[in-house]
């Protein structure tokens, strides 16, 4: 079996996610080649063939250009699977390739199942097993699902690719994430509010618990999107990555993008009315209760200790 792995490069750097595709190929037991649009003077650590185009010439975000380059690599390599990360780069490019090659795509693979692939459904509450019809497919991998074991190593044999079109979409530049004064990554205790708080006034309950514990307040994305908390409080794949000794998730369902930001926490408590919420998979203690009653009760008791 042969796979073509699609690495990621942004803002002048090869992203570590590239090595997750390598770990996946190993798990699949497949021979792997890597595709990358990057700076040719800075090679990834990879023992195998590297189809490499220069980011300086082809652009970091240029879907039509990257698709054309990928098609060259696919033609040369004839892989069974073409493997992306399920990321802003991967989910943008993978369906374009799948359509161009008339291949099935299976998105956000979390596990293998005898030639089929397991993916989440309903925000992680369920799992689907999908089988591509035919021998070949495009896959995107959930980030963090296939972790690189050990340091990546090796020197690739470079097969250079070139592209000479004009870009249909133009990348003008990048804007850094807004970082405020709060550095949640150093907090020992974080109490986070999710959409389950229901209304902005209830944020005071979360703040009250954080205060008696001497911790910081965090938030899930909907709380930030609604303007109830600033972005610097957001925990998750598009917010901060935290690793406190204690993380208390109040009214947070446990979507994978939230878990990505807090799964390294020492001890996780979840307070949720839904005993089936996926946060239960990572929680050391799941309190099945209405946070509006339980949080003040807990705060009162802790305040008295």
């Amino acid at each position: 079996m042969k796979v073509l792995l699609v690495g990621e490069y942004r803002d002048g750097k090869i992203l570590p996610s590239t090595y997750e595709t390598v770990a996946f190929a190993r798990k699949l037991g497949a021979a792997a080649a890597l595709f990358l649009v990057a700076d040719p003077s800075d090679l990834p650590r990879f023992a195998g063939k590297l189809y490499l185009a220069a980011a300086q010439q082809c652009g970091e975000y240029n879907p039509e250009g990257h698709l054309a380059l990928l098609l060259q690599a696919v033609q040369a390599e004839e892989p069974d699977f073409i493997v992306f990360l399920h990321s802003a780069y991967g989910w943008d490019l993978a369906p374009r390739l799948a359509l161009a090659l008339d291949l099935p795509q299976i998105s956000e693979v979390v596990a293998l199942a005898e030639g089929a692939f397991v993916v989440p459904a309903c925000n992680g509450k369920l799992r689907r097993t999908l089988r591509p019809l035919g021998q070949r497919a495009v896959l995107t991998l959930q980030s963090g699902a296939f972790n690189a074991d050990g340091e990546p190593a090796g020197t690739p044999q470079v097969a250079p690719l070139t592209w000479a079109g004009s870009a249909v979409v133009e990348l003008v530049g990048y804007e850094a994430a807004s970082r405020g004064a709060v550095d949640l990554s150093r907090a020992e205790i974080i109490v986070s509010a999710g959409r389950g708080i229901g209304k902005p006034e209830n944020l005071a309950l979360i703040e009250g618990l954080a205060t008696v514990l001497g911790g910081e307040v965090g938030a899930s994305r909907p709380v930030v999107d609604a303007g109830w908390a600033p972005h610097e409080r957001q925990v998750g794949s598009t917010g901060q990555t935290v690793a406190p000794k204690l993380y208390i998730a109040c009214g947070i369902s446990g979507a994978v993008q939230h878990l990505a930001g807090m799964k390294k926490s020492g001890f996780v408590v979840a307070i949720n009315t839904d005993g089936d919420a996926p946060i239960g998979e990572v929680a050391d203690v799941l309190v099945v209760a209405d946070l509006k009653q339980f949080v003040p009760l807990l705060t009162g008791k802790l305040g008295g200790v």
Partner: protein, 257 residues
């Protein structure tokens, strides 16, 4: 300006799911249904663009069973001009390519200037239908947008990247955009607008009347994840539960003295 928004009706994710007898999808009974969250942002952005451009038309389209009509009515109440319902009682069995294929059959002749979809549907989460549709219509596409502005046929968007950074991207219309959470603040339909929406046109087309697209993927199984089981479950908002939690925290962590 002629605008299309593609929307999907999905179950409320706080529902208690049961596996359907087929073993490949969830049982549709006893679920509350709503408009896919990502598509709410898509509808809102389309309505804003429609209001700003003055002339033109905003069409909202959903492929799904009878009840998907409710999602179309909601989008009409938010400000879309007319609806198209690609009626498909078996939509849950269709793969992304089949769904995009059917939508493309409808959209091809309509010459939309702008198409909005959600980044992903909350139940499937394949994040494919938008891009496949763009590809089938030979339109440029930009995914994961968290900001959109338009001036004289040139669109500037911000794409959200991991860690919350953004890429500023420009593209000429016609084009398709997939919308990420937080793009805007979706409006709540007002009562007068809900009433008005009832009178707006919704055209129903049976997918069986459109050219058929072959499936590329087969669903073998839908199941609950293996619970990692390590955690303790405490039930109820009672004083005893709080005491037990405090006792556990004292024993298992170093942060409570």
């Amino acid at each position: 300006m002629k605008i299309l928004v593609c929307i999907k009706q999905v179950p409320d994710l706080e529902s208690r799911f049961k596996i359907a007898a087929s073993g490949t999808w969830y049982a549709a009974e006893d679920l509350a249904w709503r408009l896919n969250e990502y598509d709410e942002y898509a509808v809102e952005e389309a309505v804003r663009l429609r209001e700003a451009s003055g002339e033109g038309e905003l069409v909202v389209l959903s492929l799904g069973p009878e009840r998907a009509g409710e999602a179309i009515r909601k989008a009409l109440a938010m400000g879309a001009d007319r609806g198209v319902h690609l009626l498909d009682p078996l939509s849950h069995d269709k793969d992304p390519r089949q769904i995009a294929g059917a939508i493309a059959e409808y959209a091809r002749g309509e010459k939309f200037d702008v198409i909005f979809t959600g980044l992903q549907s909350q139940d499937r989460g394949s994040a494919q239908v938008g891009l496949l549709l763009a590809g089938l219509l030979a339109l440029p596409a930009v995914t994961t947008i968290v900001a959109f502005s338009h001036e004289a046929g040139l669109v500037t968007v911000r794409r959200e990247l991991e860690g919350g950074a953004r890429a500023v991207v420009k593209v000429r219309l016609p084009a398709l955009f997939t919308c990420q959470l937080g793009l805007n603040t979706p409006r709540y339909p007002t009562l007068p607008n809900i009433m008005k929406a009832k009178k707006k046109e919704v055209r129903t087309i049976a997918v069986t009347d459109l050219p058929q697209v072959a499936a590329l993927v087969r669903t073998e199984k839908l199941a609950f994840p293996d619970k990692r089981g390590a955690g303790v479950v405490l039930e109820g908002a009672t004083s005893e539960v709080a005491d037990r939690l405090i006792a556990i925290l004292k024993e298992k962590t170093t942060v409570l003295k």
